[in-house]
Symmetry: D2
Subunit: 341 residues, 4 copies
Amino acid sequence: MINVGFIGCGAMGRDHVRRITERCSGAQVVGVYDTVTANAQQAIDDNRLDAAIYDSADALIDDPNVDAIVIASRNDVHLDPLLHTIAVGKPTFTEKPMTINGADSWKVVEAEVARGRRTIQVGFNWRFDPGYDAMKRFTASGEIGALLMSGMRHYNAQAATSYYGTDNVINDTLIHNFDMLHYLFGGDVTAIEMKFARMNSLNPNGESLREPQLAIVEFSDGALATAEANVNCQYGYDIQCRLVGESGIISLPDVATPEVRKAGQISHAISSAWFDRFIEAYDREFDRFFANIEADRQPGGQEATAWDGYVANVIADAALESLHHGGRIPVTLNEQPALYR
Amino acid sequence: MINVGFIGCGAMGRDHVRRITERCSGAQVVGVYDTVTANAQQAIDDNRLDAAIYDSADALIDDPNVDAIVIASRNDVHLDPLLHTIAVGKPTFTEKPMTINGADSWKVVEAEVARGRRTIQVGFNWRFDPGYDAMKRFTASGEIGALLMSGMRHYNAQAATSYYGTDNVINDTLIHNFDMLHYLFGGDVTAIEMKFARMNSLNPNGESLREPQLAIVEFSDGALATAEANVNCQYGYDIQCRLVGESGIISLPDVATPEVRKAGQISHAISSAWFDRFIEAYDREFDRFFANIEADRQPGGQEATAWDGYVANVIADAALESLHHGGRIPVTLNEQPALYR
Amino acid sequence: MINVGFIGCGAMGRDHVRRITERCSGAQVVGVYDTVTANAQQAIDDNRLDAAIYDSADALIDDPNVDAIVIASRNDVHLDPLLHTIAVGKPTFTEKPMTINGADSWKVVEAEVARGRRTIQVGFNWRFDPGYDAMKRFTASGEIGALLMSGMRHYNAQAATSYYGTDNVINDTLIHNFDMLHYLFGGDVTAIEMKFARMNSLNPNGESLREPQLAIVEFSDGALATAEANVNCQYGYDIQCRLVGESGIISLPDVATPEVRKAGQISHAISSAWFDRFIEAYDREFDRFFANIEADRQPGGQEATAWDGYVANVIADAALESLHHGGRIPVTLNEQPALYR
Amino acid sequence: MINVGFIGCGAMGRDHVRRITERCSGAQVVGVYDTVTANAQQAIDDNRLDAAIYDSADALIDDPNVDAIVIASRNDVHLDPLLHTIAVGKPTFTEKPMTINGADSWKVVEAEVARGRRTIQVGFNWRFDPGYDAMKRFTASGEIGALLMSGMRHYNAQAATSYYGTDNVINDTLIHNFDMLHYLFGGDVTAIEMKFARMNSLNPNGESLREPQLAIVEFSDGALATAEANVNCQYGYDIQCRLVGESGIISLPDVATPEVRKAGQISHAISSAWFDRFIEAYDREFDRFFANIEADRQPGGQEATAWDGYVANVIADAALESLHHGGRIPVTLNEQPALYR
């Protein structure tokens, strides 16, 4: 049984605690920490845990009874606990984005490299979605040759209430797409340009949350991708991805729901939210996290590593610069350490 | 230019007159007959025809200026003009069903056989629907081996206002399916059983138009088909057919309409009516009728002949017997004359 | 933690042991029994269980350390352990069919009634399939009025190697459909007729496994359903269900897989097997089984009870009679005991 | 009967001659011209026309027996006959693009304005495709609010053999998309940028036909569209368009073809070529051309006018500049004359 220390018990954090408790037979949450102690207590109560509340993330990480760490706190407070878990060598799962920018994420990479071991898995859960996984395997098999282009859509019915502004669309929404493009294409992203589409009058945030946005992403091998973010699309949670190869294309499916024929329409329900759409991906990424610990394997391949977390942040940094100042922004990565090759 | 004499100028007849006038460059309607002269006049006026109104179907058929006949009058008055056109040897298109029962249709067959030439094309237009045509060619190619089963649906939003009772579901609705089963399977139908499903409380005709109905059709080679008639289904005009072969299945497509994503639904519009759903099939069957005349070819193969019209009527006769008295009714055909082999 | 005693450790049984071990956090397998001890040992080894092997099902059931029983042995040896678990009052999950005929299943019902408590959950897992579950909720909501008809397909690429003959198609394949029809329609089945379709020359079993088969099922309220079994369809595992209501229809979706466009085709992969197609349904039915124990709830509603197991067997008995002797066979149920209302 | 003079009898021209002859009852081709007389003769022979061959386009246009002109000659020789038909006031249908650049097309606009009447219909046939037409009507109805974005795909299995180089992708392929964007969005295009994707190694033309290409199109109201050209996609002729409104999206359907389930795949055939995919659109645009003449109506609304032809050329000019020199190119239109408002 793997004893988990859990940091960050907001809504998403508590959902992960529930997931670990109910779905992951080989792991249990034994300690929790949140800056708001009531959140930590609620995680314990909701899941009837036999777990302790700690005074600090550091105390939780240091407890010898704790085997592994999960971080689901706010994006801007991931860095310190990540560096601490690396220092003590405990396997750690952190929600995405790994940190809030490329510079901070590089510190995580450097720390892992210094320790000589990959201990961080970043919560880019789309990699574990059955549809995306099938697309990765299909394109990796070479069945449609090299990838030339991609078109993605990342639509939310309404912006999350936590969205404070235009930048969230990059750091919380499109960062998933940046990771998937990096994962699916293999090659490096070399430039990005962001463009705004016409404002939606139904967007209640108005100019403070300017979108829809279009990302145009260039790869070192000439491939080209577009990703639309439309976080007030009204109609549902709609995640699409199309990969264009030399002899064919493959596209992410819609969620399977019954077909209804009524009143002149043939219709299917659309997913309403990410927690529903990607529920299986969440389960699978945690299964893998614990299976790797069990088998003493380092994350990599399908699991996003600290390097992958860094790459997504660097692309997002360039996207933000384009959003703020316009134009095509080169994406420049530090050299990839041998640890991640 | 083929000069057409047109018999029966009700709503459907006038639509065919329009079709011939607008879409069939090589043919023109030069004479019309209807028991209600106002209908005949309306066909002329609607289409700005330079055409004469005749006093009788016989006069029209006999006019040496008329090259070919189209019959779109009521089902129960097809027989006499058909026998007349055969007698004078003029190519004739008749709406389905050819006559109102197998005995009458056999007279048509005998008349053609006596003349030694196939001059009748029966308006089983589904054979010319691009989807059904693709299914026929696909299964005929042997790509999925012998046909084992079929499932069909013939749904109308509401029963046609002309439907007077339960028998219409056989003679006007399912007769299409009987012809298609005969056409698609090749083999002979040997028995049929009709069953009633639960009555739809939204059926305004109540018990006088008892349906939905289920036909269970047996073929001489052991193949088995079901066809559902549901002529008050409320939601649209929905025509489906699935053919089950030894190594795969093929199914009729829905009509292509744009996909709308709105308010939590992914939806497509359904066809509302047969004249919309099968518009291309109507055009194509008339194109073929005139092309055959032009090329001096007898109908056959894709075009339903008098024999095919007879077969559909015999199946319908058995279906009616099952509907009225219950049970599985054998379908017994006269020997197929050499003219149709 | 619920301690599970497991009876029947063949391939399917061992898969359930794995499921309980990996996916059900609140339960663990502590004891196993199989007539072939090597199977029991393999279940322990595969899942690294800390569990004992018992000499008999009875000894396992009687062990006070065992809280609940799962039966996955051969269909014909369910009865005795079921009666025993009822006698000792331990919650029991049994694979479908509950027993091999209605007479045996009635003994189970009577035993439960005598004890005055429902302790049996029958493994009709389709009820827990997300697609079927959505259909049940949709039709129960009344959105398309009363159910009039249904069309089902139950196709396997190849017959299971364990299939010894024509009867398996009823007892192992269509029994799922019988349970779902009973579950979805609510009303009682009053008659059934089985018909054979043309034999598939690719069926390696030939006449000894005669199929495809068509079931025609009648309900007390006049509703009518057809279910096709085609267990050598070659192309995949294909489960379909369409429910026809008064104002619309709802159909089970295909499994969501990426769309590929290549070589002139737009294509999706089909599920190859039941364990893949219904994996989520299996997980959910066991979750429910343990959640009911945890909450001290009796099975019922979505979970198939001993009564539901009995009903499915009685329909299957009539189907077998029709298969062997032909014709429409009335389905007559004993009065439903108050315990199940 | 409208007497048509036909200019340009290459493969596409002859197909239009056939269309007019077979499908358009109210029109007939009475005169033909082609720089290669054998082509003109073949148009006559293929369609068994009673038509004269002229020595020049001018002679054909001037013949008082000719009521209307259709131009299907090479793009670069449209201008002179267009100016001539305007001068003599004869209704004219010209294939797209109207001329080879904005400057030439402006001459056509000016000539029409000088005559005070719209006599030119440009062959942007996509406007008459049933799918596109349904999208136009749907969005015009306001059902999804203002249009914010669009994503289009214009894929050919292989580049047309007539394609001499990279610029064809703009002038012959994407020009359709430019017209549709202008038609569907209503607002003016204000800028365009072209980008190259990774070269397809299966493109037999190599660098001389550099593509896939991505167009990023900006509108005056802030709306944003992307259009991918991929003219060696190998797998089929694939035309897609998605319009994103404020409360929903609408997408062009695939062509309806039967669904086949075989060998583990659920598949539909893809259209192989434009003449198949858009056959109905071609028929409809010619129907409209002749119906307008019959009714003495000027083209406009659904029919592309000389102004629309000019707009498409101006966008294409900017696209070519971006393709050759890179970057975002403003699109500047002359003021729209009152004749077209």
